[in-house]
C-alpha cells in the first residue's frame, strides 16, 4: 500500500473502495451498502493517512487499533484491508458466501488481523477502551479508533462506555460517529432521535469535533485535533450521507440492508468510474 496525505489521492482511493462495496454486495445479493458507503472517507483517511500500521507486521504491538463497532458495514472495512494488502483482493466478491473469510460481519476467526469480532451493536467502544487502557499500562503511544453507527449509539452500553472513558481520561481513544441519519427502520430522528448529539457527548465529558464526514481535509484536521487533545477522549461526529457516491442510494432507507441488483451495480459503477 502507498500511504498519502494528499486529499485528492485519498479521494481516488475512496472511489476504488466504493466500487468494491458495490460489487461485493451486488455479488453477495445481500449486505449493507448504504452504511458502508457513508463511512468510506473516514476509513480511508484512517488507513491511508492517520493510523500507524503496517500490513507486513499485523501483530506489531505499537500499531494503532481500529474497531468497526458498526459491524454491518463490513464491506468498507474488507475493501480497505484488501487494498492495504492485509487480505486478498481477488476473493472480495466471495463476501457472505459459505467458506469465505469475508463473513457477513467482521469475524476474527476468519480474518485474524481484525482487532475484534463485531456485529452485535454497542460493544465496540468498550472493547476499544480496553485496548486503549492496555496501551496506557504498557506505556505505548498507540491510539485506538472506534467507528460507531448513529443508530448504534441508541444502545445503553455506549453511554456506559462514554462515562467510563472520560472519567478515566482515556485520551488515546477516538470514537467516530458515522452520522448518516438513517437506520434500518427509517430516519434516526423518527426512530429514536439522538439530538442534541454533540451536547450529549460533551455532557459525558468528551471532546467533540463535528465534521463533514466526506471532506477528507476536514477529517484529517479532526483526527489531528483528536490526537492533540489530552485528558479526555475525543468523538468525531461525522455528518455523512447514507449511500454516498451512488445517486440512487443516497439518503435512501432502502439501501441500509438491501444489496444492489445487477442492473443497479452497473449503474453505480458507471457513476463511480
Amino acid at each position: 500500500m502507498e500511504r498519502t496525505k494528499d486529499p485528492a489521492a485519498l479521494a481516488s482511493i475512496c472511489k476504488q473502495i466504493r466500487r468494491h462495496i458495490i460489487t461485493m454486495t451486488g455479488s453477495a445479493k445481500s449486505g449493507h451498502p448504504g452504511g458502508s458507503l457513508s463511512a468510506v472517507e473516514i476509513v480511508v483517511t484512517l488507513y491511508w493517512d492517520v493510523m500507524r500500521h503496517d500490513p507486513a507486521r499485523p501483530d506489531w504491538p505499537d500499531r494503532d487499533r481500529f474497531i468497526l463497532s458498526k459491524g454491518h458495514a463490513a464491506p468498507v472495512l474488507y475493501a480497505a484491508l484488501a487494498e492495504c494488502g492485509y487480505t486478498p483482493k481477488e476473493t472480495l466478491n466471495t463476501l457472505r458466501k459459505i467458506g469465505s473469510i469475508y463473513q457477513g460481519h467482521p469475524d476474527k476467526r476468519f480474518i485474524p488481523v481484525l482487532e475484534a469480532s463485531t456485529g452485535s451493536l454497542g460493544e465496540g467502544l468498550s472493547a476499544g477502551i480496553g485496548m486503549a487502557l492496555a496501551a496506557r499500562l504498557d506505556k505505548r503511544d498507540c491510539r485506538t479508533y472506534v467507528l460507531l453507527g448513529d443508530g448504534e449509539i441508541q444502545e445503553g452500553q455506549i453511554w456506559e462506555a462514554a462515562m467510563f472513558a472520560s472519567f478515566h481520561k482515556v485520551d488515546n481513544l477516538c470514537a467516530i460517529v458515522d452520522y448518516n441519519k438513517l437506520q434500518l427502520d427509517g430516519f434516526v430522528k423518527d426512530i429514536l432521535d439522538l439530538e442534541p448529539l454533540a451536547d450529549k457527548w460533551r455532557a459525558f465529558g468528551w471532546h467533540v469535533i463535528p465534521v463533514d464526514g466526506h471532506d477528507i481535509a476536514a477529517l484529517q484536521k479532526a483526527f489531528a485535533e483528536a490526537a492533540a487533545t489530552k485528558g479526555k477522549p475525543t468523538v468525531i461526529i461525522a455528518h455523512t450521507v447514507k449511500g454516498k457516491g451512488v445517486s440512487f442510494m443516497e439518503n435512501s432507507p432502502k439501501y441500509h440492508g438491501v444489496a444492489p441488483t445487477p442492473e443497479e451495480v452497473e449503474l453505480a459503477l458507471k457513476e463511480l468510474a
Binding site: 487499533r65 469480532s117 452485535s120 460493544e123 480496553g130 492496555a134 452500553q157
Partner: protein, 319 residues
C-alpha cells in the same frame, strides 16, 4: 483418599476469598494480570488486588456489560484480564458481550462470578445466581469451573490465568467447608474421586461436595457404599469418570446449588445417555428461593446431605 465415615465438616475461607487472595499472588507473578470490577470489590474480594495494584484494577462502576467488553479489549491487546461481579449480574448483564466479543472469537478473558447460589442468604433471589452454569456452558470455547473449597479455588484461578481461552469460575459467599488439603492437586476436566464406592455414585459440585461427603458417611452406616465425585470442571465434563461410575456402581445422584433443569445434572444425564445409560436422581433447585440465613435456605430448599441420602435410596430402588 478419604473414607466417608471420617469426613468432618470444618469451615474454611469462602471460595470468593480464595479467589481474591490468589488473584493478588498472580498479580505479583505476572504484570499482565489485570482486573475489572463493577462496584463490588469488597464483596468479590478483588479489593486485595486493588490495594496492591491500583493501576491494574479497573473500577467500572455499576456497568457490567461495559466491564465485560473492556475486559475483552484488554485481552485482545495482550493482557490477562479477570472481570468479576456477583454471578447474578456479570453473566446475565454481560452475556451478549461474552457471546460476541469473547466466546466465538475465543478471547482470553476470565470471568469470575461470586455470590453464586442460594447460600448468599439474606439478600434474596434477585442476587442469587442459580442459572449461570447453564449460561456459561452455553458459550462455546468457555471452560467452566465450580470449585468446592479454598484449595480447589486456588487451583482453578491459577489454572485460568495459565490457560489461553475464556474461563468462567463460579464462587460462593459463605465460608466453604474444607474438602481438600492445601497440597491437593487437580487436573482440568478430571473429576476427583473423593471416596471410593460400589453401590451408588454421588456426583457433586461446589458447596454440595461437602454435603455429598456427609451423605456418603451416612449411607456407609446403612451398609451402602457410595462413591463421591467432585465435578470441579463442569465443562469439559469428565465423561470417562461418569461412565465408569455408571458401569461400576449402576446408579447416580447429581447434587448442585443450581436450577436442576439446566445445570450439572442435565450435562451428566446427556453424557450417560450417550455412553452408559443408568438411573440418576437430581438434587438441585426447582425455582427461586427467598431471604434467610444460608443454613436455613440450604435446609428449606433441600440441598443437604439428608436430601442426597434420600435420593440415593430412591435411585438404588431403580437399579
Amino acid at each position: 483418599m478419604l473414607t466417608a465415615a471420617k469426613y468432618e465438616k470444618k469451615l474454611g475461607p469462602a471460595t470468593r476469598e480464595a479467589f481474591g487472595r490468589t488473584l493478588v499472588e498472580l498479580g505479583r507473578e505476572n504484570p499482565n494480570i489485570v482486573v475489572g470490577d463493577a462496584d463490588l470489590t469488597k464483596s468479590t474480594m478483588t479489593t486485595y488486588f486493588a490495594k496492591e495494584f491500583p493501576d491494574r484494577l479497573f473500577e467500572c462502576g455499576i456497568a457490567e456489560a461495559n466491564m465485560v467488553a473492556i475486559g475483552a479489549g484488554l485481552a485482545l491487546a495482550g493482557k490477562i484480564p479477570f472481570v468479576s461481579s456477583f454471578s447474578a449480574f456479570v453473566i446475565t448483564k454481560g452475556f451478549e458481550q461474552l457471546r460476541v466479543l469473547v466466546a466465538y472469537p475465543n478471547v482470553n478473558l476470565k470471568v469470575v462470578g461470586t455470590h453464586s447460589g442460594i447460600s448468599i442468604g439474606e439478600d434474596g433471589p434477585s442476587q442469587m445466581s442459580v442459572e449461570e452454569i447453564a449460561l456459561a456452558c452455553a458459550l462455546p470455547n468457555f471452560t467452566v469451573l465450580s470449585p468446592a473449597d479454598e484449595a480447589s479455588t486456588k487451583w482453578a484461578v491459577r489454572w485460568a490465568a495459565e490457560h489461553y481461552g475464556p474461563v468462567f469460575i463460579r464462587t460462593g459467599r459463605p465460608k466453604a467447608p474444607i474438602v481438600y488439603n492445601s497440597d491437593a492437586s487437580f487436573e482440568i476436566g478430571k473429576a476427583v474421586e473423593l471416596v471410593p464406592g460400589t453401590d451408588v455414585t454421588i456426583a457433586a459440585t461446589g458447596l454440595l461436595v461437602a454435603e455429598a461427603l456427609l451423605a456418603a458417611g451416612q449411607l456407609e452406616t446403612e451398609g451402602i457404599s457410595a462413591r463421591v465425585l467432585d465435578i470441579h470442571t463442569i465443562k469439559p465434563l469428565d465423561e470417562e469418570a461418569l461412565e465408569r461410575a455408571a458401569r461400576e456402581t449402576g446408579a447416580l445422584v447429581v447434587a448442585e446449588e443450581h436450577l436442576v433443569d439446566c445445570g450439572l445434572g442435565v450435562r451428566v444425564a446427556q453424557a450417560l445417555a450417550r455412553r452408559c445409560p443408568a438411573p440418576v436422581e437430581f438434587i438441585g433447585l426447582t425455582g427461586y428461593a427467598e431471604s434467610g440465613s444460608s443454613d436455613q435456605l440450604l435446609d428449606k430448599y433441600g440441598l443437604r446431605a439428608a436430601n442426597i441420602v434420600d435420593a440415593a435410596r430412591r435411585v438404588l430402588a431403580r437399579k
